[in-house]
Subunit: 273 residues, 3 copies
């Protein structure tokens, strides 16, 4: 049962360093706090390296990257890897520009990440060197559906094997896999795509889940994906007439805040393939 | 009727690149999503140029500008202009510092914008090389009211002619004009001024309205100003005892999310002069 | 009675320049607006200096500092000091990295601040050159409680004397002191620590309180701390089943927006030692 991995986050309260974009950074911080973890953000190279060393995990998100933050990503990533910290890459917009694609590919070459978390277009770009994209959103042509499910499961398993990372490809159907097993997760609501930053939040809290569950990284990542989707479902039932994406954003973080192991165990919708 | 221009945004779903300040960037992203558009943000020069090329519009907002983002504004603005993308300038704080004033004036000299969207002090600064200012808020001495309305309509028409841009001067009374016509709009609530970023949100979504309505740019800008003001009115009626500017912020974005053509047509308060 | 200091903020409406982190900047802006002040943000050195000169106060917050913003902090701090503007330092994460600790210490050496506002670990780091820390949150070992209260009061009075600043050390019990008096404040709720940025918001509005109450800086700082804590209490009573830290964040800013002198006078819980 996946709820125990949430319990460990709340018990261990990992400190998570986020080198992340300024669009969604506040939501990432509040989502981490909602799960019982502590956020910290630094992006000047010297500062980022030192902060990384005192943290339990590092979440590298390449949205709004710049030359200074890219240097911080490489230096902090190396330190985190040497120290055995939980280490996640969110390749926001890989495929949309060469700077983003190349930065993500170079990070993967030089640093050993525990997890890559992205949408279908971003993951395809990293796995195959190409992918269609609609800015920072996945292109419909790339999405996982019941028709291509078996193919996509093989694809993420193969990429997990070649990259040595857990792959968390999220969308209408989420796939979380190491090279041997793949969690196929059907939590969540399509309206979550009308809020900026649900993916960034997921990457932040997933880093905390890995940091708090070093011996069960794959299950922890799957638990985290189920939790985020379930929070979206719970928040959706709480929306009232006239409310929209801004209130939905708040209610999703509220649902993370109130989530417990029992609710997660009962609400998680997944199979292992 | 203005509602059709909203319908086009929802149908076409333009991808809008925003080089914008980090204070209100999250609200700009959620406001764009609320209207059915997609936001993306990049501000490293190489990245910004490539992202601009894949987008339908570019919103340049000079709040919290720095030397790196200024370079991105010029390079991206030129590309957007060459490619015929919707192109908007929000001269946040023009008049409050020489860097802001000069950057805005230089952008206008070198790049052909579709629209300039600002408050009265900012627009006066750009039109006349001077203007009083209260930081990033308009000075009361500059505001449009019923006493100076005829004068201000002539002023924006003249500036629209000399600049070759649509001018959207927003405040208690909003003026949206090309050189021949001026929409005088009376939607909105004064309490919107107690929320940071309603102007920035307006600039973001106005870029999407222009991108989705290339053949009717003036009407699309007017529709967008009516919509933002009407969202402020609808959200205000939904405020409960004890709620304040933070909840009002969320409810305005929610009202954008739920706006349809019929509501906009019925609620828009404007005359054309 | 402390309510008059809030009245002065609403009456004078000070313009406050914030060189602050991008994690919580939007909340700082909305909190200032909620109190009746006006926010502006700039961090390119030339721009920051000019903006500082037109403002009534400067709030320097070193979270997510970088080489460019550090230069802006020093240059703007000097100008603000020369011009007699309200000047506050929030040493976010001092003790967590050498860049943060050294930047804060250097700022204190070179610039005369009115107030230093931080958590117990940050204040101890600045006062004693060392302190434990848990990232940007205070370490439990440093916190003020009834057992160490007399000792901590002496400590903040001593540091106020040696630094020449008002010290606002905030946590479960808040201490606000110049060298002779210490306000011991017991407003607030522990759940405020599960929201990112309540400390940053407090620093922003405290700068406005000092700017609007130049002749009673200590009392104004104490009033501001009481107000923030009381807003947390009021917002907490307004939380409904299923709501969490994200909605709590909004309701705290809403409570600031609706606060009046009478409510503050009746709700402030403090003694002067």
């Amino acid at each position: 049962m996946l709820g125990r991995y949430l319990d460990n986050v709340r018990k261990f309260s990992p400190l998570i360093h986020n080198i992340t974009n300024y669009v969604t950074v506040n939501d990432v911080a509040n989502a981490l706090l909602a799960c019982g973890a502590s956020p910290i953000m630094a992006d000047e190279p010297d500062d980022a390296v030192e902060i990384t060393a005192i943290c339990n995990g590092l979440n590298i998100n390449i949205g709004t990257l710049n030359s200074r933050t890219i240097e911080s990503m490489f230096k902090s990533g190396r330190i985190a890897s040497e120290l055995g910290r939980a280490l996640l890459l969110d390749p926001v917009g890989a495929g949309a520009s060469s700077l983003r694609t190349n930065t993500a590919l170079d990070l993967l070459k030089q640093i050993k990440f525990d997890v890559i978390r992205g949408n279908a277009s971003e993951i395809k770009t990293l796995a195959m060197g190409s992918g269609t994209t609609h800015g920072v959103d996945a292109d419909k042509a790339d999405s996982v559906n019941d028709d291509n499910l078996a193919f996509m499961i093989d694809f993420v398993k193969d990429f997990a094997k070649s990259s040595g990372c857990i792959i968390a490809l999220t969308g209408a159907i989420d796939l979380v896999s190491d090279s041997s097993r793949c969690f196929v997760i059907r939590n969540g609501k399509p309206e979550m795509g009308r809020i900026t930053g649900t993916g960034c939040q997921l990457s932040g809290i997933m880093t905390a889940f890995v940091a708090a569950n070093h011996d069960h990284k794959l299950e922890a990542c799957a638990a985290c994906v189920c939790m985020m989707g379930l929070a979206g479902e719970i928040a959706f039932t709480r929306l009232q007439d006239g409310e929209g994406n801004s209130t939905y954003r708040n209610k999703i973080i509220d649902a993370l805040y109130n989530m417990d192991a029992k609710t997660l165990n009962e609400g998680a919708k997944y199979e292992v393939r």
